[in-house]
């Protein structure tokens, strides 16, 4: 059927157009983005039906595709949700915060947990990378930046760095930051993301007491020293010396609980803003913004008063001994944290040398003392390395028989600068550093051959003793007896010709143990002498309880005894007591004939002192020392007797 252009269709054409139009109208529903409809036609025309059918097929395909996409999306959402939940579980279990650095945008997004870790409001934070870095401790910042940029540049596999960061309350926290870069197919970094773990507990906290630790003290010191304007400052350290007493016979956890309770009480005695920090070896520290001793007293006396009170543990009272050291940095003094720390350490070390409860302040003399200690240690080490240990001998004279009862082996160190050095300059350091043991062994190796030396035997016979001092530390060494017996065997001398000298103070630290050790020595045939008796806190009880052969009376009881009658009474009584207890008696420090005469009147036979001989090397002794004539036989003058 043909029709003029522009004229409306008629007949079959009109019917077909209407049918096609109807299909088109139905398809209009698709503009809403919904495809959930079907195209219908009433037409008997196969072409129209085909059109409807294929439209339905297309719509069906669209619906199916959308359905599949929806399903994929839902599955993806479920997986994302599952993964998110898992990640959240892990993050909450590890207590980690999450950060993400959008490199092109230059901002860092921080999770609410991250914000909470730094004491901020719990919300997601977005800030610039620079602002984020600004929270980091100035000393750590360049290291952190370096770690980030190294990873960004592909030089490291990951970011893994620990640093300090200030929280919203102004306190320093330790953070472990881990992260990885996401890169495009060309390797260009798109973003970096990772976690932040608060490691403050591990890094800045003392596990025993729960207090901030030494690393925290370092931070605090740096901060205080860097403050502008800087206030006057004092670093106070105190050390509990006998915490082991708390643990004696008590379950460890109970002892720890008692210690924590005491530490907490100490903290409460301090001003609220003063942090108490726990350092190794039961030492505690605080930084006070004070420099006047009176003000320090006001703060520290309540703490010291509490330290003087006993700790009650399982119905038992334990007194904790303490000492403290203070290093003051006055208002305009320039000082590094290291130097400040060293000053406080020195003050505390000095307090430890003093009485319990002592508080020592750092001073220049302390510095000199430290230098001396340092020099002494170097001198000892040099002597050990270069065999610079020299054995000097001082005779112990039997004035009645006119013989040498024995010789005390005395140590001297040969120093290239100082020359021969007396024990007073190094024994304390040797004892503290443990170097006394190798020194003593070297001395033994020189002293024992004296017993077999032909010159000595010819001059002094075959029965004299070698007497060697033992330090407190050696006396507590369970291997000591074995060492001495081995040395005697090595040098082929009888142990019965060996005498050890122990001081009262060496015994006092653990009298029972010392007594057992001395008893074993005597059983082995070694003679035991109490040295320097009367020089310190003399305990007369020791004269009866300790297994002794001889008591050597200290020169402090002897000095000027011939001119001081009251001193004569004391010395005479001590001598008589020792004699009554059947101990051998040696009087040390005798320098004049009058004293010899007095001692002889009191029945003393054995004398050691400059009156007869100063300590000297063996060769000199053989050559120069003359034995005195026997007193009973000679009745000679002092000069004659001294030879």
């Amino acid at each position: 059927m043909s029709r003029a252009p522009g004229s409306p269709p008629v007949g079959r054409d009109a019917h077909l157009v209407a049918q096609i139009d109807a299909i088109g109208n139905q398809l209009c529903q698709a503009v809403d983005g919904t495809f959930d409809f079907y195209v219908h036609t009433d037409s008997d025309e196969i072409a129209i039906q085909k059109l409807a059918q294929l439209n339905n097929f297309t719509l069906d395909a669209v619906r199916r595709t959308i359905g599949e996409l929806e399903q994929a999306r839902r599955e993806l959402e479920v997986r994302v949700e599952e993964r998110t939940q898992r990640l959240n579980l892990i993050l909450s279990a590890t207590n980690d915060g999450v950060w993400e650095w959008e490199i092109d945008a230059g901002h860092v997004t921080l999770s609410p947990r991250w914000a909470r870790m730094l004491g901020q409001e719990s919300a997601e934070i977005r800030q610039s990378f620079e602002m984020w870095l600004g929270l980091i401790h100035p000393a750590d910042r360049s290291t952190v930046e370096h770690a980030f940029y190294r990873h960004l540049d592909g030089l490291s596999d990951a970011v893994d760095i620990e640093y300090r960061v200030r929280n919203a309350r102004g306190a320093w926290r330790m953070m472990l930051c881990r992260g990885l870069c996401q890169r495009d197919e060309r390797g260009r970094a798109l973003r970096m993301a990772g976690t932040l773990s608060d490691t403050t507990e591990q890094r800045l906290s003392d596990p025993l007491t729960g207090l901030p630790n030494g690393a925290y003290l370092d931070l605090l010191m740096q901060e205080k020293l860097g403050g502008l304007p800087r206030p006057p400052l004092s670093l106070v350290k105190f050390q509990l010396l006998n915490v082991a007493q708390l643990f004696d016979g008590v379950a460890v956890e109970r002892a720890i609980a008692a210690l924590r309770k005491r530490v907490q009480a100490l903290r409460q005695r301090l001003p609220a803003r003063v942090a108490l920090m726990a350092l190794p070896e039961h030492t505690f520290a605080m930084v006070l913004e004070l420099d006047a001793v009176a003000e320090l007293d006001r703060v520290l006396e309540p703490v010291e008063a509490l330290l003087a009170e006993p700790v009650e543990i399982e119905g038992r009272l334990v007194w904790l001994s303490h000492v403290s050291g203070v290093a003051i940095v006055s208002l305009h003094e320039a000082i590094s944290a290291d130097e400040w720390r060293r000053q406080a350490r020195l003050a505390l070390a000095s307090a430890r040398q003093s009485d319990i409860g002592t508080r020592c302040y750092y001073s220049e003399s302390l510095r000199q003392w430290e230098r001396h200690q340092g020099r002494a240690e170097q001198m000892i080490r040099g002597a050990l390395a270069n065999r610079g240990v020299c054995c000097f001998l001082q005779p112990i004279v039997d004035i009645v028989a006119g013989t040498a009862r024995g010789f005390e082996a005395l140590m001297r160190l040969e120093d290239p600068v100082e020359g021969l050095v007396n024990p007073g300059a190094f024994v304390e350091v040797a004892e503290r550093t443990g170097l006394i043991a190798p020194l003593w062994e070297m001395l033994m190796d020189q002293a024992l051959p004296v017993l077999k030396d032909p010159g000595m035997r010819e001059r002094f016979g075959e029965t004299f003793l070698i007497s060697i001092n033992l330090s407190p530390r050696q006396l507590m060494d369970s291997r000591l007896l074995e060492l001495m017996l081995a040395a005697c065997a090595r040098h082929g001398v009888a142990q019965s010709r060996l005498q050890v000298e122990v001081t009262e103070s060496a015994v006092l630290s653990d009298p029972a143990r010392a007594s057992r050790m001395l008893e074993r020595m005597r059983e082995a045939g070694i003679q035991v002498a109490m040295d320097d008796f009367g020089s310190g806190y003399s305990s007369l009880a020791q004269l009866t309880s300790l297994p002794l052969d001889t008591v050597k009376i200290d020169r402090s009881l002897v000095l000027d005894v011939s001119t001081l009658p009251r001193k004569q009474h004391v010395l005479a009584a001590v001598v008589a007591l020792c004699q009554r207890l059947e101990h051998g008696v040696v009087v040390e420090g005798v320098e004049d004939w009058e004293t010899v005469r007095l001692l002889r009147q009191w029945g003393v036979r054995e004398i050691q002192g400059f009156f007869y001989a100063r300590p000297m090397p063996m060769a000199q002794l053989i050559k120069q020392f003359e034995l005195p004539l026997p007193l009973a036989a000679a009745g000679a003058s002092a000069n004659d007797a001294a030879g």
């Binding site: 072409a47 039906q49 059918q53 719509l59």
Partner: protein
Amino acid sequence: MIGLIQRVLIDHIESTLGEAAMRQLAVDAGIEHLGRRIDTDYDDAECLRLFDAAGEALGLDQEALMALYADIFVKWTLVHYPMFFQMADSAQAFLARQPAIHASMGAGIRDAQLRARVNDKFRIVEQHPGRLVVEYRSDNGLCGLYRALFRRLLEHYGERGLCEETGCMHRGDACCRFVMHFEERAA
């Protein structure tokens, strides 16, 4: 069954035997309203009865009827759906697309179950150059028609091939399975 199948048969009967014969055929098959729409799903049983009646009227056994039907089907669709033939350059390509074409015929069915039944009838199981495996799953059991269409399409494309029916619902298998081999055409 999709209306297209029925429509092709009706058009052939009417054109060869006349409209009156077609009406009688419908009466013989017990079909009250003879459906001619290609986009409608008609009752399977009625459709099968119509095929049986047509076979009797034409004096053809089942296999001959299927061969005839395959021929008229190809001719009919070449007229009305020439694009499907243009889209395929071989019998294998046509048959590989056949399940989708079949599904398109049922796209207008609103009942989801019915539409799914149409969609699920044919499934490509394996497809390699020269080899195609298809499963057919329908209570109508028109596997003979598929085999006839296979032969007719080979003829249309001027190809040679072989169709093995390794499984058949008439033999009690879960589905009919056609393993088809296509000889490569000479250049």
